[in-house]
């Protein structure tokens, strides 16, 4: 109970500057939309006809947004570690786990808002919305977001003495993780070693689940796989992240 209340305090603190800066919020929100509209429109002219490319492409974009958005939890944590404000928080009685989850939750909530916006924007382009599927898909996305944010925070803690390492490791991990999940391009036609690696990537299952959900297939095995994968990813992320947070202090 106290953990929930404390998570709420940290979440409120984190989300306030975003809400207080509408211009930044609008630009942050608009970025993936612009990307999606430009890239998606290019694709739709290529192979698939009316709207089919959106069905494939929107879930991928959401995951990509999830990756790039939630990892900023680590970046922000790094800034607060070097600035001194994290120390101040660490001396208060608030638990380390709440500090971690509150932070990543904020990125997840922003992600939810962004996803909603994207879906609304692509609707006129022929995107078919399956409401239940889309809602489950967004829930799944925010669970993954918490995991990603937590891993990013853990990385920030480990790299706190050499800040550039944080960016190097993050970038190095992010690109293969993205490509191997089939977010941007289908993995089916890839060489077999890549397909194997892609099976080992937890995000792959989430991407597949997202695609199934946005196609309205709520009960399929892909969804179950994605759910298990996302929850496991989030739990491990939070455990690793919370351990790392205890190490700072």
């Amino acid at each position: 109970m106290r953990l929930v209340a404390e998570t709420g305090i940290v979440f409120t603190r984190e989300v306030r500057p975003t809400l207080r800066n509408p211009v930044g919020l609008v630009f942050g929100m608009a970025q993936p939309v612009v990307f999606l509209v430009v890239f998606g429109s290019l694709l739709s002219g290529l192979t698939w006809g009316d709207g089919a490319s959106w069905q494939w492409f929107v879930p991928g974009t959401l995951i990509m947004m999830g990756l790039s958005g939630t990892v900023s939890a680590g970046y922000l944590l790094l800034a607060e570690m070097s600035g001194g404000s994290l120390d101040r928080m660490l001396v208060t009685p608030v638990s380390r786990a709440a500090m971690l989850v509150g932070r990543t939750l904020k990125e997840s909530v922003l992600l939810l808002a962004q996803s909603t916006l994207i879906i609304v924007v692509v609707l006129p382009f022929g995107f078919r919305l399956h409401l239940v599927g889309a809602l489950v898909a967004m829930l799944l996305l925010s669970v993954v977001g918490v995991g990603l944010g937590a891993f990013s925070c853990a990385l920030a803690v480990v790299a706190r003495k050499q800040e550039p390492m944080f960016y190097v490791v993050q970038q190095t991990l992010m690109f293969p993780l993205l490509m191997l999940s089939g977010v941007l391009l289908p993995i089916d036609t890839a060489p077999s070693w890549m397909r194997l690696l892609s099976r080992l990537n937890p995000l792959t299952y989430v991407v597949e689940a997202e695609r199934a959900l946005f196609a309205g297939d709520v009960a399929g095995s892909a969804v179950l796989g994605g759910l298990v994968s996302a929850v496991a990813f989030a739990v491990v992320g939070v455990l690793v992240g919370a351990r790392a947070m205890r190490r700072v202090a």
Binding site: I9, G83, S85, M89, L90, T92, A249
Partner: protein
Amino acid sequence: MISTRGLTRHFKVKRRIVEAVRGLDLEVAEGELVAFLGPNGAGKSTSLRMLTTLLAPTSGEARIAGHDVRADPAAVRRRIGYVGQGNGAGPYFRVRDELVTQGRCYGFDAAESRRRADELLDTMELADLADRPAGTLSGGQRRRLDIALGMVHRPELLFLDEPSSGLDPQNRANLWEHILRLRASGTTVFLTTHYLEEADARAERVVVIDHGRIIADDTARRLKADLAGDHLTVTTDDPVRTARIADRVPLAREVVVDGNEVRLRVPDGSAVLPVLLRALDAATVDVWTAEVRRPTLDDVFLALTGRSLREVAA
């Protein structure tokens, strides 16, 4: 309020073990204002981080307000305030928001947190800046905000790590007004500093640390009288004879000749100077100038370690 026994912290740096703090034994009573003085790297901040639960000791124990830092860090955290070396407020957060958050972190409800935040904005002269992001404040303003953040829950014991570092003299004086007001209201204050003048003028008790060990612990006045003594300087037309006469002054130490100048150290300079002058006069030495200089804490550090704190700090 603070009680440590053999408090020790080692760091592993490139497979070498660095002993940052070695067996700290320290007792601070309620209501004291203690300055922890030492050169950079002496172990001040490491000690402070252990006392504030930010860093686990390698060995030894520390009890803060009756609670063990290792066994019950949460109880310690509720009772202490901490103003670190960095900025307590995140640069993108508004001043009032951070104060309200801080109150919430200590278990105040939303209304009480807001009330306390407004109160502190007033006492710390930050009311006009309440809606500004902390990153836009000047150095002195940010430091006042840091202290406000440390005081939100009215702690019995406030730790400050180099609170006046980087501030201009005016802001430093202003900061000290706030610290002394806290002290007057009964808060125990424990702060680190490498500003000698500050420890000398403001603290009731000075604990000197060097290479991770406490090497002196007393009031500034007694440290200076016991360890350093006053400096006497006379310039005369005959420094060699002056030095010989100075040598005969009771308790005179370190008689040095430097050109026409002769320097020596004695426990009570203002009493010795007339005696010395009369002796020189009787010996028909022509005295041009005479000066008594009270010792500083730097002289104390020099007497203790053979090094000047100013050189070490620079």
